[in-house]
Amino acid sequence: MALVSAGFTAVLFLASCAAVQSGADILAGTGQISESDRQSIAKTSQAVSATFSQITEEQEYYIGRSVAALILAQYPAYDNAALNTYINTLGQAIVYSSDRPEIYAGYHFLVLDTEEVNALSAPGGFIFISKGLIRRCKNEEMLASILAHEVGHVCSKHGLQAIKKSRLVDAFRVIGTEAARRYGSEEVAQLTTAFEGALGDVFETLVVRGYDRKYEHEADDLAVKFDVAVGYAPKGLTDFLQTMIGDSTTASGKGWFKTHPSAEQRMDKVKSRIAALSSVPAEASVRTKRFEQSVTALK
């Protein structure tokens, strides 16, 4: 009964969008309105349904898989089972205390075989951290803070927000017209074009352009929040940023330095965020010890 009702509402909604749109198509066809008018009417009629928040968990996963594949085409994976297990165990501990611990296929972490200082997260929980970045961490708190920052990007769907609205409008148009799960070749071609566009938007943002600064500061806020929730000293983040200030590779303008606000800018905000907390967990030597053991392969 509930399903029928929800389905009925959805059909009504989609039908009304489709009606406005086909009306606009007809008018454009007869030359009564211009092509740009037709497009803007089409966009407006679909606008309500075309936001990143309407990308389902499953679609987020499929976008993430391909973005991850593109990242791995750029940077090779570091095939070290012991180190990847350590990173994943630490990562899961953070995920458990995060805002969105359960996502479609879970969170997965992988070390990238590059000296470049970088950490990236594709939608759907594919999180990467470079050897170069791990090498600059001195303890588990610093590493945890970087991973928590990346988990924060995934929790808040920052990657999905990089997707241009036009891709979603195109995709939702096909989704709205096709009832079947298995698409015909024309629908697949249309969806694939929108998919390629969406991947390009996310990849470009992650690897080349960087997110909007407000998302980076939000991810830093979340890193502090998750650190404290799981029991890590949030000064791991400021300690890491401090090592980045004056790091000679900063000038290289690669990786994190290209896509993230400067360490100085981030430092100020993170410090005031931490100062506002009533109590914060302390560092523990037992964690520093196991960190040192876990990363020996890199030293």
Partner: protein, 161 residues
């Protein structure tokens, strides 16, 4: 003269009534999750649940929901693993429609799915998914995460808040 009740009002009213009746039914929206016997990720699993399965809400506690499966099994799931019906009694008519159209359940398997990935891969044979699939194979058992937290004095075993 008797004025007919507008169709939209009738529909809204119907949705309202139905949503009141079904407000406690949740749908699993992740590929798979566990029904746990206490509200913790490393609590023993009672049974596994997969995408699309429906469960009835019993109670809630700090991000966790106690549920009953169709088979009558009771346990805890994290709220991020299930779709909670979003029908809001105070929402506008437009809001109701928008939320209904965004349902994970209604869109399951649609849009960017396996078929679209296959089509993308056929066009971009140079893009390898081998490591993506290997990454997905890295699964850390909750018991190992618990041990890691215990040894590292994290969470409830240390300074977690």
């Amino acid at each position: 003269m008797k004025r007919p009740i507008p169709l939209t009002m009738t529909v809204s009213l119907l949705i309202l009534i139905v949503s009141l009746l079904v407000a406690e039914t949740l749908t699993v929206k992740v590929q798979s999750t566990s029904l746990r016997n206490t509200p913790k990720f490393y609590a023993p699993a009672v049974q596994s649940l997969s995408a699309g399965e429906k469960v009835e809400k019993i109670s809630a506690q700090g991000g966790w929901i106690q549920v009953r499966t169709s088979g009558g099994v009771v346990g805890w799931v994290h709220s991020s693993a299930v779709e909670v019906p979003k029908f809001d009694l105070l929402a506008s008519n437009k809001g109701l429609k928008t939320q209904a159209s965004a349902s994970e359940v209604a869109l399951a398997g649609k849009g960017f799915n396996k078929q679209v990935e296959e089509s993308y891969r056929a066009k971009h044979k140079d893009v390898s998914f081998a490591w993506v699939d290997r990454m997905l194979q890295i699964k850390i058992a909750a018991a190992l995460v618990e041990e890691f937290m215990k040894k590292g004095k994290l969470g409830e075993f240390g300074g977690g808040q």
